[in-house]
Symmetry: C2
Subunit: 356 residues, 2 copies
Amino acid sequence: MNAEQIITVELGDRSYPIVVGSGLMNGGFDLSRYVAGADCLIVSSETVAPLYLNRVLPNLANKTVTSIELPDGESHKTLATMQKVLDALVETGANRDTTVIALGGGVVGDITGFAAACYLRGVAFIQVPTTLLAQVDSSVGGKTGVNHPGGKNFIGAFHQPQVVMIDTDSLQTLPKRELQAGLAEVIKTAAIYDLEFFDWLEQKMPALLAREPAALAHAIRRSCEAKAQVVAEDERESGRRAILNFGHTFGHAIEHSLGYGEWLHGEAVAAGMIMAAKLSGIAENEMSRLRALIVAAGLPHTPPEIAEHDWLQAMGMDKKVVAKRIRFVLLRELGSAYITSEYDEERLQHLIGASA
Amino acid sequence: MNAEQIITVELGDRSYPIVVGSGLMNGGFDLSRYVAGADCLIVSSETVAPLYLNRVLPNLANKTVTSIELPDGESHKTLATMQKVLDALVETGANRDTTVIALGGGVVGDITGFAAACYLRGVAFIQVPTTLLAQVDSSVGGKTGVNHPGGKNFIGAFHQPQVVMIDTDSLQTLPKRELQAGLAEVIKTAAIYDLEFFDWLEQKMPALLAREPAALAHAIRRSCEAKAQVVAEDERESGRRAILNFGHTFGHAIEHSLGYGEWLHGEAVAAGMIMAAKLSGIAENEMSRLRALIVAAGLPHTPPEIAEHDWLQAMGMDKKVVAKRIRFVLLRELGSAYITSEYDEERLQHLIGASA
């Protein structure tokens, strides 16, 4: 399949299309008509710009394009890096009609979207995600932001893009480990929302790992559709949207305890999903299917060794909060999730004690 | 009049009250019921905190209150100072239910509101403005932000407060020059929106300068009402809201050319209003009334000496932009303003040439 497929995120006057397909770069899809003014700034990274910057320029015919490169990696997802984007906007004389384009992975997208949200109290932006994780997760839904030493994504804004352009061709250069980490969020989407998609993933995992364009496009499209539906119901995460955090409470604790970057986000979420499924108490055959799919994707299914005390602290369950209990996303069964602060404490104790 | 008066800013689910009166501090008005969670952070300044922090605490019964002080002055309205507020929020373990309270003038309010907009992608905040300028202008309407070396308020967000509490008693300690600068925005509101209010100001200017509480409360209430109506029609300034910028194109050029802080914002706006009224070509008797009221408030009615080239550059009318013409807020007559890029070029030339 080479034709693009279009998903719409329904958010009233902030609605926008997600375009998924092969051959969209090199002018295959016209981004210019989403650029209201005459000029745009492309924000990319040291890794991605050399690969794809020149391939995106033909998609911006008749526009004045400038670009900057940010340093790579989660450690640079800071207010200081975001300020570099703002400086570049000021230097190029950007005005209210300027469009900012994020070309890269989740870090580039999150920083760029936040800069666009803040510049002149909000200018338009476009997402061109080039990693699987960004394509199925961070580029959809309007969450933007940077980290604070005190916590991940502590500083940010909700700011929806004008359009998200996902060219599956960009996945051909993605390191294998990052491809697998992206698949963790794909599996998550199926596990919480869509049993039929879960079945499909069980069939197609080898094709996905072999980077077959049609399989990748279907997985991305289905993930984006599901996320778009959840976001349309609850844009600012006051309730239901939190089901997207399945596996993330344990996952964040893993990332936090090991130090960010040791395990990739998707890897931590994979092990976290197994833990959350166990806490849910789903049937053993479903448990086995989830574990098998995660293993098939080449992802870890057990957490690293973390002391019980560190688990509790990393999940915000220190003495002050333990009284309140925290909220988990649990599975009713494969394909259906719910949010609750009613969970089996013994099971939790066993899960975090057993891994120590 | 000691009873408080309440104005509502109508913005759907973001609607909020502005409470104006004498004796609201020291527990005269219950702020606690606008604080959803158990704790709040008061952000104030080195000047205002010693005067009013202890007088606001009784308004927050049963809440856990922490506070920080920011350095005073427009030169500190930066991303770096905003980050101090974020650091304080992280240090105090603030969560999504925490409320941030701005206690001070416009700089404190703008920085604090922006920090509240960004922390965890948005937490609640409350405005307790203590200068006349903040009371009649910056605390109403949801514009928050900080300066960039490249431009004033270049970085920010629209973020509406839960409530604005305006105690006219706080004006008793305000330096006279700042009181007068605040009156410039009051006069502006009357000039663009409300001839009856303009008549009233002509009568009551001596009472306002003598800080009579009833007169101050009426002037503030009427200014807030007018601004609330304009903002309700056009929250994000895509059109009509820009009439609030009457006098500001020339005013900003004055501030920019002299260096910010040389003239107070209100002083620059006062001289800017005279220039904008001249560009409008209103009747000579109305021109005289506007000039007389500005003079009665102790405000400058002529701009400082600025070279024509500097005027043009500061107004963004360098060679690149001159072709487009810029948009001015002009008066049809006293009490009625409109936005236009159709203006008399000869008059403009005369205005900025004549002052050089």
